[in-house]
Amino acid sequence: MESVNVIELKNIEKEYFGNKVLKGINLSVKAGEIHALVGENGAGKSTLMNIIFGMPVIFSTGGIKGEVIFNGNKVEIKSPNEAMKLGIGMVHQEFMLLPGFTITENIKLNRERTKENIFSLVFGDSLKTLDIDLMRKESKAALNTLGMNVDDWLPIAGLPVGYMQFVEIAREIDKENVKLLVLDEPTAVLTESEAEKLLAAMKLLAAKGIAILFITHRLDEVLAVADNITVMRDGEVVSCMKREEASVESIAEKMVGRKIERVVHETKELNADSEVLISIKDLKVDMPGEIVKSVNLDINKGEILGLGGLAGHGKIGIANGIAGLYSAEGEVYINDKKLELNNPKKTIENKIAFLSEDRRGVGLLLDTSIEMNIVMTSMQIQNKFLKPVLGMKYFKVKDSKKIKKHAINMIKDLDIRCTGPTQFTKRLSGGNQQKVCLARVLTLEPDILFVSEPTRGIDIGAKKLVLDMLVKLNRELGMTIIMTSSELAELRSICDRIAIVYEGQIQGIFNPMASDLNFGLAMAGKYNESEEGM
């Protein structure tokens, strides 16, 4: 392997409105190296990526201090366009694809292969004809490099998210001069098998001499592919290690700066006569991408039930259907009382709370203060946090003092990092936003709590806090918790039972200690005996 630094960052500093987010970062990536960048949310990883790719936000807020050296030359990357010319490819966390265009068209967008025609000879290059055949051939080659077998003439809309991620990467590697590929959490939306495929493709690309800088929260992946690992915390590089020296524990420890222990605890004794609290009969939920076809499930009082399964099989739809956010059919009984479906208000009145997986879309009022976010649902449904005006019993306004007091308590209990209860939630990091959602749900004092993907996109420290909180609520307050998660390990760490959903139906219910094989089979729809391991 050559030892040329493709990119070298020297002493990079960056301020946002007087707030130092990067404090002298040094980083270098060699050709053919896979360099992993890890760190908690808010550690400054994304800012660093934006600097490398010359995103306008960096320059509109005052530029940077320090040097960027690319291929041995000092450069100043002022726009994504310049970055691309230098040979930097970036795959963003959010997809930047045109849904109505085909895969090939997306890959070749603005770099189309063209051939001459009469008009172009007269009027210039912009009227050249597209050379579709050549474009398709090259796109196919790029897709094949990634080990992806898909018709390149399909439109993007309707493809599974995993495929979209591959198309994004294919677009970057199709650029002839690409020397550095920056991947921002490429596996966040992928299933485990897709992620493996992607990691294999990354190794292949690295072998071709492309330098890869990738950000991720999944530490197993880091250990699987990265040659070097840089750990960032609070805008500083805290550690730069070789893979051989690293382990999951050491990386995680460096990231949070304190020792973390795994969330392990004994599973609860399950009595045979434990009382059934929720009984779901033939539930159908029409949630796009997560259709629930027919779910029958009994949930015991006081347990933590996990709902697992692969993405797109409907596990997320179950909670959303019961919470009344997507139209549902079937019967749900709470304590033998039938629950009215498709009515979110009734659900909350029945002491069922739902923590949505779509934090920014459903879970938060982004332009509203933390305190109002926390009390909103409780005020609307339970008439709490209101006080009468001038003694008039039926004319009540919000009780600012009580709201503030409650919010401050919640901020302290859940360790929400913010400037105060009146800060807008859109300024918080993902983990803290999740804690605000959790605080809102807890304010409802529910008996039954549905949580969907509670730890998605949040850092390890916050993750542990959220999981510990769930266990605490269950053990100390006796709350029945139904947790939906894509991370099986997480479910196995805190659940009493785990139901695996496959194609909109429950494939099996397992003890968390059941073998990996059983879980694997159930997720693939190959598990035939139901209720084994109970």
């Binding site: 919470a323 459903v362 509203t368 909103m376 609307q380 306004v397 859109k426």
Partner: protein, 352 residues
């Protein structure tokens, strides 16, 4: 110096700071001009602020409930005008006439607002465009109705034919200045419209109180994130409906306050562009299509109306070429400010 400028901009935003500076320049120019009385300019501004205040306040429920800036405010204005005419037709005078007009306007506006809200709930995402054109069409439609409605009072109908309402109806013998004269006192020989200003403040207080009630809070939530609101058991369409109805009612009351201070009811094409002035004022005050506070209303109406009132006489003195230019200057200034304000619809986003 630069740091202070930066802080000012961060705290108040460009529109407020730049318009305040422009105002200060205008006032200092005015004080140098011969025959220009600064106190009377200031009092004129106060009068116009009181006149327009409630129309601007009407934007608040519409913005916070998520229907955006209400370009269809002319609907409320039309019902207010209709109520104003009815009160004359009933031969009422003075304070009674004014408050009767207000009371009549409320149910009328509520009905119209309900229908308008029904429409807005069907065109989510395009409220502002639909509102603008609905306002335009209904102003035109009402132009026909003003002619054929069976009003009889000789003060209001065309003298020759005895049918159809006049374009401007004088309120001198009816309820002109009833609020303006309430508790008013002299300031350098100019009457301060205390009553109108108090009336405006009272409505601001009511709105402030309303936004703190359970319904008000639910409305804000529905406006901020409809999906969150649904998940919290809030009926979003109902909240939008309430916002639109309140907005229309305030539009009706607002035009009556405007008319009593102005001394005339202006029918036909007059309500056409009125929503724009109200929208410009609240935007200059710092509101956006998604976020509005009472403080935005107050600072916005003060800056916008003071600018309009003070700039005209000052420009007129500078260009002594007769009265023709002043009308042109008025149009340039008012539309210029509206244009500037409309570029602020998205609010001053800083990168989060």
């Amino acid at each position: 110096m630069r740091g202070m400028w930066r802080r000012l901009i961060d705290k108040y935003g460009y529109p407020k700071v730049s318009i305040t500076i422009l105002l200060i320049i205008l006032i200092s120019v005015a004080s140098c001009q011969k025959g220009q009385s600064v106190p009377s300019l200031l009092v004129d501004s106060l009068i116009r602020i009181g006149m327009n205040g409630i129309l601007v306040l009407a934007m608040v429920p519409s913005i916070v409930s998520g229907t955006g800036l209400n370009f269809g405010l002319s609907l409320g204005i039309l019902t207010g005008l209709l109520a104003g005419c009815m009160s004359i037709e009933f031969n009422l005078r003075g304070g009674t006439a004014f408050f009767a007009a207000v009371l009549i306007s409320i149910p009328l506006s509520a009905v119209v607002g309900y229908l308008y809200g029904w429409l807005l709930n069907r065109v989510k995402g395009d409220e502002m465009t639909v509102g603008t054109y609905l306002g335009f069409s209904l102003v035109s439609l009402m132009s026909i109705f003003w002619l054929i409605l069976p009003f009889k009072s000789p003060e209001m109908v065309w003298a020759i034919k005895g049918r159809g309402l006049r374009t401007t109806i004088s309120l001198t013998d009816r309820y002109a200045k009833v609020l303006d004269n309430f508790l008013s006192f002299k300031f350098f020989g100019n009457k301060i419209p205390t009553g109108t200003l108090l009336f405006f403040c009272f409505f601001c207080f009511l709105m402030w109180l309303f936004l703190r009630t359970k319904t008000g809070v639910a409305m804000t939530a529905a406006g901020d994130n409809p999906r969150f609101a649904e998940a919290s058991g809030i009926n979003v369409n109902k909240q939008r409906m309430i916002g639109t109805v309140i907005c229309t009612i305030l539009g009706g009351i607002g035009i009556l306050v405007y008319a009593q201070s102005f001394g005339f009811l202006q029918l036909y094409q007059a309500p056409l562009m009125m929503p724009f002035a109200a929208i410009a004022a609240i935007l200059i005050g710092g509101a956006s299509a998604k976020n509005a506070k009472i403080s935005h209303v107050i600072s916005g109406v003060i800056l916008f109306q003071a600018l309009l009132t003070i700039s005209l006489p000052v420009f007129n003195k500078m260009i002594p070429e007769g009265a023709n230019l002043s009308e042109i200057v008025r149009i340039i200034v008012s539309n210029g400010v509206i244009l500037y304000a409309l570029t602020k619809v998205g609010g001053d986003e800083c990168n989060g």
